[in-house]
Each structure stands twice: as structure tokens, then as C-alpha cells.
Symmetry: C3
Subunit: 158 residues, 3 copies
């Protein structure tokens, strides 16, 4: 199992799916697998820095940015979000059960050598400048994903 | 194709995705493939027993249980659920077209030897005691999933 | 990487996921991979012809057809659709950033030899007659998908 490659496309920007993705990624990396995560579309939201925006944006780009969650603390649940209450309940319950929050999963992934790739087409369309993102090892398109996935034993779309 | 392994993560708790997952799982098992399904997060809802709860729960655990569908007959559709009407229409239409309901797909999967694994981290966070679940062959975490997936020809996240 | 097989189940009928699916499919086909896309459930909506329906439908079949998007121009976003406004914003932004619309991605996939398969069980349940679909190379069930997937290096459920 060690030395195998794992490729995960993180398309979703929901807390629950993000937790699943990082749980698999860190579990695989911890057992010696070589893991790459490709963040695309809503998935990029969890890599966003909080605080004032640095990169230039058109009006529509600012609207996109305004409506979208910024960083791991802000993601909604895919189900039963109930205006954010479901998400708060889930975070509370995770803390009580000693499951680390998403931000810590991301740090752990970085420490374990998981490669974080941000999809350049999504960044272009949603006007997300590189300087507004955290944790990214590489900016790349679909060709880079296919290159990794074609060598991977496990490939997931989350 | 026979003798190959298939691993399916069932993350979703929606009727339509559950049907897709079990359609693939039973199809694969029927043609001799070795299938494991890992139920995590909302996916665990479809394994829940109906009737009074047996396991102990905190208040928040009871709230989670109350808001979540219990068993295969209660799952909503991921789209066009329309307060349950879409789900009823889909079940009616499936019956008319002689497609078996989800509960029968689950029984069929069990008969064909599909291995049903429930994710212990999800059970912990959502306070789902083992005695409130049906059909489970094994309770395990992400490491068990990776072990199976690293030997599988087909791995899906649904 | 060339000569490898890729199998993609397109279950979702959302614009954003459809774009991701076709971006991967056309990228893979362009680099010489052998790609099959299986359209099932809501995914079939994007293959629907616009204009008056040709095939026979029961009343419930007409209701399904009425409520569901027809063709690539009508798909909603999975998140932030905001009654269609999000979808319009996304299409506008894609055009400005010179990303081709979904309809062109589909044509491009066809030109690159991507095989388009429509799931017969979904067509049966949702009463979608073959003559109301575009682009389909083959009508088939789960067995055909498993046959392809068991020979594929990359298999995704989108």
C-alpha cells in the first residue's frame, strides 16, 4: 500500500466533504502513500485567506468573492446546514469528540507532504488571484491532474 | 473482470445516489467482483434501524438523530425533492417500471456478499451507536478503506 | 498516459459538475486516452434535445420532463444558483474569460472520440425516450459500465 499514488479532486466547497477528503488524504499520506489534492471550483474556497483581499478583481469577481466562504472556518454543510446552524453543531460535536477541525487537517496534510494543487481555470473564471490563497504548492490545469491520476492507484472526485 | 475488487465510499444520504451506489455494487458482485461499501457521514442514515432508538445519546446526538432520515425508505432526493414529493414520485415510478426499491437493493447486496463497512469516526461524531444500525459487517476507519482501495481496480466516492 | 482508459459516470445534472466532467474528458481524450462517459440520473438532462418532445410519455413522465432542465444551456449551478442568477453569472464570466460553454465542450468531446453512453435504467424510470436525446453513441446498463471501468486506469463518479 505504501508508495502507491492517490489523486483526489476536491470540487466541493462543503465542510463535510472537505473533512472526508482530508481524512482520506492524511490517512493515505500517514501510511506512506504519495497524495495529490486538486482543488477546483468551490473546493478552492477552503484555501482562501481571510482578511482583506490583495489581488485585483472586476466587479463580478468581487461579487463572487463576497458570496463565497473564505477559508476552512466558513464552509457550510452540504445537508442540514440550516443557515449555518448545522455547520456550527457539527464543529461543536467534532470538538467534543476530539476530531480535529478542518484547518488542522489542512496543516497536517501539509506536514505529511500532501501536494496541494489549485486549478488555474477555476481561478481564472472565479477571479481568485494566487496571492489570496494559502497552502498551494502548484498552480495547474487539467493536464497536470491527468498526469498524476494516470499513475495513481486511487483517484476520487469529491 | 471477475475477481477484481471494487471499493465504494457512500458519503451521500440521498435516495438517488444510494440507488446508483447499490446498482453498481450489486452489478459488480453479480459478475463475480469482490465489493466493499464504506458508509460514512450521511450515507450511514440508510443503514439505520427504524423504531425506537436503543443506544445512548447526548442531547445533541438526539437532535442529529431526529433531523436525519432513518432507513432506506426515508431518504430524500438530492434534487427536486420538493418537500418529499419528488422522492415519492421517484419511488412510485420505480415500482411501476419494476425497478426494485432501495431496501431490496440492500438485501440483494448482502446476499451477493457485498461487504458493508460503517465508518467509526462518523458514528462517533454523529453519535450513532452500533446497535441502531442494520446490515453492517464491519466497523472501521479510514485506514481500512485505504487498505481495500489500494487493492481495488475501481474506487468511487458517491 | 496515452492509451490508458478513463471512465466517468456523470450522475449530476449541475452545470459546474458537468463542466468539470467534460473538462477532464476532453483533456484526457486530447492526450490520447480512451474515454467513456456514462450519463445516468440527472446527468442525462444535459443530453436532452430542446424543442417539442417526440417520444411517448405517461402523465408522470411529462411531469418529470417539465421540471427538469433540457440541454446544456439550461443546467443550474450546484451551489449559489440563486434562482438561475448564479448560473447566468457563471456563463457570463466563462465567456469573458474565453472558456468555452458546455455545449461546445460536448461537441469537442464528440470530435475527440469520447464515447457517450446513456443509462437505460434511468431512461426507463424517468421516461426519457431515446429520440429525445442528442450525442448518444450507446444505450446501456450498469454491466457495460463495469466492463469499461474494470479496464480503466481512472474511474470517476461526478
Amino acid at each position: 500500500m505504501a508508495d502507491e499514488k492517490v489523486s483526489i479532486i476536491v470540487f466541493s466547497g462543503d465542510l463535510d466533504k472537505a473533512l472526508a477528503a482530508f481524512n482520506i488524504a492524511t490517512g493515505a499520506a500517514a501510511s506512506g502513500m504519495d497524495v495529490t489534492m486538486f482543488f477546483t471550483f468551490w473546493g478552492i474556497n477552503m484555501l482562501k485567506k481571510t482578511g482583506p483581499r490583495k489581488g485585483a478583481r472586476t466587479l463580478l469577481g468581487r461579487v463572487f468573492d463576497m458570496f463565497m466562504p473564505k477559508g476552512p472556518e466558513k464552509l457550510p454543510l452540504s445537508k442540514m446546514n440550516m443557515g449555518g446552524m448545522g455547520s456550527v453543531m457539527m464543529r461543536y460535536q467534532m470538538a467534543k469528540k476530539k476530531v480535529q477541525p478542518l484547518a488542522e487537517f489542512i496543516s497536517m496534510a501539509k506536514e505529511l507532504g500532501v501536494k496541494i494543487v489549485a486549478c488555474t481555470m477555476s481561478m481564472e473564471v472565479m477571479e481568485i488571484p494566487a496571492e489570496d490563497l494559502n497552502h498551494v504548492d502548484e498552480f495547474a490545469g487539467v493536464a497536470a491532474f491527468l498526469e498524476e491520476a494516470s499513475k495513481s492507484k486511487i483517484t476520487l472526485f469529491i
